[in-house]
């Protein structure tokens, strides 16, 4: 019996560690992937804003996508230069493959020139979305200030 009890304790601790790791990754602002040449956002029906656009990859069956869309939608607005476009993965599997999107929601932060500057995956909080925006401002102001972002 002692062996089984130890096995269960190890199992519970391992599961807890996995849970902490997974939770910490949700929505965290990560470095961008190199945007492949020849990505034509407009041709895929994704109109970019001048400054920054959150391109959110969603699925119909994804509950976390809806709360993420609400958060990102709340940061857009007239004159903010911030856009939010939601892309259904089922309709754009080609884009999903070329951009290396593995799960929903995945949010690419794309600058006015169509270059990815950051990405987030998992449910995104308001704080994390704002953090991504400051990173964009830092990148525009110059690479020397990036460390403070």
């Amino acid at each position: 019996m002692l062996g089984q009890v130890i096995a269960l304790v190890v199992l519970v601790l391992g599961t807890a560690a996995l849970g902490v790791w997974w939770s910490a990754r949700q929505g965290a602002v990560r470095a961008p992937r190199e945007t492949p040449a020849g990505i034509d956002w407009a041709a895929s029906g994704i109109a970019l804003e001048d400054r920054v656009t959150f391109v959110q990859f969603s699925a119909e069956v994804c509950a976390a996508c809806r709360s993420t869309a609400r958060v990102l939608g709340g940061l857009t607005g007239a004159g903010s230069g911030v856009g939010h476009r939601e892309v259904l993965v089922d309709d754009h599997l080609d884009l999903v493959r070329s951009l290396g999107v593995l799960r929903t929601p995945t949010v690419l932060v794309v600058d006015g020139g169509g270059r990815e500057v950051a990405r987030m995956s998992g449910v995104v909080s308001d704080t994390q979305a704002r953090q991504a925006l400051t990173r964009i401002s830092a990148a525009v102001a110059g690479p020397d200030r990036e460390g403070q972002a």
Binding site: Q4, L11, G19, V61, A63, A64, V96
Partner: protein, 145 residues
């Protein structure tokens, strides 16, 4: 019925009940009693795979005992991912039960441990295995929209 919306707390409550049962299987170890309990859990997963997570006995307990004590949910959830997760549970427990039935009893607590990780994470932090795997399977063509 196939595209309905459900209270997302239902599958999570169900997963916590299932996680406790799976922990019991781990405690029972490589034994016939563990095999019987895992078979019972397998049948619950079979029910969930056929009828959706809300159609299991755990879903029934949630509807009768828990839901009346809660306020309305912040938002509803598509029923397909939780149902898909039931299918994953069915597969994992089936491997354990089949191997156990052929005398490889050590497979019983191992299968229970694997299913426990998924059920416990679903219950405690809402990790939805079906949602995580959906796009990967779309990409490989394992499922269609």
């Amino acid at each position: 019925m196939s595209n309905g919306m459900i209270d997302p707390r239902g599958p999570r409550v169900g997963a916590s009940i299932t996680a406790v049962l799976l922990a019991a299987v781990v405690l029972l170890g490589a034994s016939t009693a563990g095999l019987w309990l895992l078979t019972f859990i397998l049948l619950s997963f079979l029910l969930g795979t056929l009828r959706g997570a809300e159609g299991t006995w755990q879903g029934f307990l949630f509807k009768k005992l828990v839901r009346p004590r809660l306020g309305p949910p912040a938002e509803m959830e598509d029923r397909r991912p939780p149902r898909f997760a039931q299918g994953i549970g069915l597969f994992v427990t089936a491997v354990g039960v089949v191997l156990g039935a052929f005398g490889v009893l050590v497979a019983v607590p191992i299968a229970a441990a694997v299913a426990f990780v998924a059920a416990a994470l679903n219950a405690v932090i809402g990790l939805c295995l079906g949602c995580e795997l959906y796009l990967l399977m779309r990409r490989t063509g394992l499922v269609r929209a």
